[in-house]
Symmetry: C2
Subunit: 344 residues, 2 copies
């Protein structure tokens, strides 16, 4: 073959040089594509109907000019806590706190040894404790949640959480949060949502740790509460916790709490039990526009727990039936979650 003429060789060289010049840009593009491919916002979710229902909802409400666009200030998402964001078996974490506090306070209260419901707690007699019913629980709440300032209670909760361990997983409760749900929280916030907790649990029991664990500040926590009284004591103002129920943020109380606290209707709500039924109805069945309701279904006895219709804590019965009718997404823990916790 003839060698290329000088002009052609010059041309090739120019092509080579210009290609080289473009290379860094190309490399950049390739990197960007690969970053996009890797940037799954929900990496702990298996692909499937449930994951798609979350991502397609977010895509629809954030598409400016689209028919389902929701302005950022109206992107309110509410999350139940127990069983939706962290573990609620074998008992609510707050109940574990109550039982530990009763044990810790027992030496200063010698009569508790013979008096119900305290005796049941000290004997570890869960059957007798259950028999004491709501009245018994209110008595336990009174001695563990009231009779101190809000600052003192906050300190007690923080100290307990630092040392308490889950009986099965042998880890702090704050590690027993669901990694896939942490990803949903972060994904929604990255898309302009304001995320709230709306829990039947105590508002002051949750606030000391929700910001660190979930990125949810105290003012975005809605929960049950007891009454407090403001008073000046030795020239210092304080809020004193009283042994009187103020508000129960459960079942039909959840929409009431949402309206009282947030003053807007959520466009997305996440729950796991019949306690969340009305919150999901309030979120998805009124107002116009696209809405997301999602129920975490505990189906994984191996990695976490499997329970629904007959459970003592977090019973999912009416809301499971409603999910089918009202087209709420069901997160099947076993099938939809690649992993449950951040560890292991």
């Amino acid at each position: 073959m003839k060698p290329n003429p000088p002009s052609s060789r010059g041309f090739s060289r120019r092509i080579l040089l210009s290609t080289l010049a473009v290379m860094p840009a190309l490399t950049g593009l390739l990197r960007a594509n690969s970053a996009l491919a890797q940037a799954d916002p929900l990496p702990s979710w298996n692909d499937g109907a449930c994951k798609s229902s979350i991502t397609s909802f977010v895509a629809r409400v954030t598409t400016q000019g689209g028919p389902d666009f929701v302005p950022p200030d109206q992107r309110i998402a509410t999350f139940d806590n127990d069983g939706t964001l962290w573990v609620e078996q074998p008992m609510y974490v707050q109940l574990a706190f109550i039982l530990d506090r009763v044990r810790a306070l027992a030496p200063q209260n010698p009569t508790w040894k013979t008096r119900q419901p305290f005796k049941a707690v000290l004997d570890g007699d869960m059957k007798a404790l259950a028999a004491s019913g709501e009245k018994g629980l209110i008595e336990l709440m009174a001695v563990t949640h009231a009779g101190m300032t809000v600052d003192e209670f906050t300190r007690t909760v923080s100290e307990w959480l630092a040392t308490a361990r889950h009986p099965r997983f042998r880890r702090p409760y704050t590690e027993l949060v669901y990694q896939p749900m942490l990803e949903v929280l972060a994904y929604l916030r990255a898309n302009g949502f304001k995320t709230f907790i709306v829990s039947g649990g105590g508002i002051e029991f949750m606030r000391p740790w929700t910001e660190t664990i979930y990125g949810i500040p105290p003012e975005q926590v809605v929960g049950s509460s007891i009454k407090t009284r403001f008073e000046m004591r030795d020239g210092q103002p304080r809020l004193f916790r009283l042994p009187q129920i103020n508000f129960i943020d459960d079942k039909a109380g959840k929409p009431v709490g949402i309206n009282q606290h947030i003053g807007r209707r959520p466009v997305a709500a996440f729950g796991n039990s019949d306690g969340d039924l009305q919150m999901l109805q309030w979120t998805t069945m009124s107002g116009s526009g696209v809405r997301l309701g999602l129920i975490v279904h505990h189906t994984d006895a191996e990695r976490e727990y499997a329970y629904d219709r007959r459970s003592h804590f977090g019973r999912l019965d009416l809301a499971l039936d409603a999910a089918a009718v009202d087209k709420w997404a069901l997160a099947d823990m076993k099938k939809d979650w690649k992993r449950v916790f951040a560890f292991g």
Copy 2:
């Protein structure tokens, strides 16, 4: 005179050239300085102790590494509404709403013509109305604030505000907001503060307009409330307003409401009456670090109103004494405010 020797001329030229080269930068600096001078964040405030107390507080808590630095998430500022952000004379705006609503509903309630406290309202007999006391007011609240859904109430408030006029200023109430306080709200937010309303007024009465008027979203409004009930009606969820007091967010109720709703202690609080005393105590007298308490003192009968210790609405008596002792800033409306409203 001898002409400059060549070297000297060259030197001069160099100086001239280098000076010219610097000119754009200098011009930029001058512009920036002049922009700074113009960018007074509180242009409706006269220079003086009160204005300085606001700006120096903000400078101290936002100086990173300084002894008084407050992280952005803890920059919570609470504002009373009536008399602090908008006019409260000759009566609370919400009371004007109640009276107008009673008149509007009277045709459907013929017995009101002869029954107190309704008769007093329909006759415009303020003395008889006052005589009906708290019991009378609760009856008026019940017929004007309860017995409808939250959505219906919101609509009613919005429609009323669109047409109601202040008896003296002949303007919509939403124009009777204090321009200097709007500037404080914006200035604090520009410095990373989250601004909340904490008012004795009805939470649902305020929420329909606080975002438009003050830039404060519904979830950052704390106020008094009546109870609501969640119910499904014809397959639609709704919240129904009941004629029962839920919470009175006034006096010692304000710290309670702040704790319930925000869950953090404010670092700055703004009020104008004895109803704000405990909020200012809670904000400024506990916790560590620099705090700001400010009281709007109505001293300007010409541009607005002059009232304090003997006033019926917004009495400022105990809190005025406390201001001196506890070093709260006093905004003397006549002296400290260049203008009161945005208009005129």
